[in-house]
Symmetry: C2
Subunit: 172 residues, 2 copies
DNA sequence: CTTGGAAAGTCAACAAGGCTGACATAAAGT
DNA sequence: ACTTTATGTCAGCCTTGTTGACTTTCCAAG
C-alpha cells in the first residue's frame, strides 16, 4: 500500500514511475500468463505425437544445451525430485533418445548425452519454438528484445539465475 | 536453416539482425523458462498454506479481473475443459471464496464473483506477484518494460491475444 | 407449443507429472 | 572402517489435465 502510493504519485526522483502502477503490473502478469501459453503451445503439439510431455522436453533441452551434464546438475536446473526426473530419463534412455554414460573421473555420476534420435527430436522441438520466438523478436525489434530479456532476468529467483547465466560463454 | 543463415549474415535491410541468431533465440527461450519459474514461485508458496493449487489461482485471478464473468468465458480464457475448471470452481464455491449467481437475462449462465474471503486471498496472491514484478520493473526501467510487454504480446497465440487486450479499457 | 441445441453440471475413469518416504548400491572421501 | 554422495527404484499419494456419457435447465426457432 505504501509502495503503491509511491508508485502512483508520479515524479519522485525525476522519472515518472507510471510504469509501476498496480494496473501496469497486472498487465505484465497477464502478459506472462498468455505469452507462456503461446511459448509452450508448439512443442506441446509435437510432443503429443511422440507420447512425451513437457517434462521430457525440458530434459531434452538441457541435455542438448550441456552435453555430458550429470543427473544432479539437471535436478538443480529443473527443480524437481530425482524420482520425477528419473521417470522421465528412464523412458528417454529406453527409447534410445538419451545415452547415460558412467563417469570416468567419478564413477558414481552418470553423464547424459542425446543420441542421434534425441538430437533429431530436440531439433524438431526447438525449431518450432524458435520459429515463434523469431517472429516475435522480428516484429518487436532489437530494443524491445533487449528490454524483454532484462525484465525476465530480473524476474528470476536469484538462486536460479546462475543456471541461466552459466551458459553465456563456455563450450561449443 | 535458410532462415538461420539469413539471420546470421548480418545486414540485410540495414539493421544488424544479430538479435535473431539461433543463439539469441535460445537465450530467450531459457529466459522464459527460468523467469516463469520465478513468476509463479511466490503465489505457489502461499497457495500451499491454503491447500489450493495454481489452477485455483488462475480462476481467482480472472474472476477478480472481470467480476460477473461466465463459466464459458473463463473456459475460453483458461483453455481447459469444463470438467477441469468445474472441479476447481466447486471447491472455491464450497469454501466460500467464489459466489456463483444464476444469470438474470440467461438463466443457464452462471456469473462468478469473489466473496470478501475470495478478494482477501486474491489480494494476498497478487500482492506477492506484484512485489516481484515491481522489483523487476524498477530494476529494468521503463524502456525495458515496454520492450518486455511488446515481445510477450507478439508471442501470444493470435486467437488468445484478444483475451489479453479485452481488458485494456472497460469497467472499474 | 414443441423441439433443437446451448450452457452448465456431474459421474467415472484415466494419465502425466509433481510429491514423500524408504531402501539399495556403488564409489568417493575421511 | 565409516560416512557421505550420486544414482536408481518401489510404492503410494495429490493436483490437474484429459475423454466420454449423461442430465437438467432454458432460450429460441419452427
Amino acid at each position: 500500500m505504501a509502495e503503491r502510493g509511491a508508485a502512483q504519485s508520479s515524479a519522485s526522483s525525476g522519472e515518472s514511475l507510471l510504469f509501476l502502477t498496480d494496473e501496469q503490473l497486472r498487465r505484465g502478469i497477464e502478459a506472462m500468463f498468455f505469452a507462456y501459453r503461446g511459448f509452450t503451445a508448439d512443442p506441446d503439439r509435437i510432443l503429443e505425437n511422440h507420447a512425451y510431455g513437457r517434462a521430457h522436453h525440458r530434459a531434452i533441452h538441457f541435455i542438448n544445451r550441456s552435453p555430458g551434464t550429470t543427473v544432479n546438475n539437471l535436478l538443480a536446473i529443473l527443480g524437481v525430485t530425482k524420482q520425477s526426473l528419473n521417470r522421465v530419463l528412464r523412458t528417454l534412455v529406453e527409447d534410445g533418445l538419451v545415452e547415460s554414460r558412467v563417469g570416468t573421473r567419478d564413477k558414481r555420476e552418470r553423464h547424459l548425452y542425446l543420441t542421434d534420435q534425441g538430437i533429431s527430436l530436440e531439433r524438431e522441438l526447438s525449431e518450432a519454438q524458435r520459429t515463434r520466438m523469431r517472429a516475435a523478436y522480428r516484429a518487436a525489434g532489437p530494443d524491445a528484445v533487449a528490454g524483454f530479456r532484462t525484465v525476465l532476468e530480473q524476474m528470476m529467483d536469484p538462486e536460479l539465475r546462475h543456471h541461466y547465466f552459466s551458459n553465456t560463454e563456455g563450450g561449443a
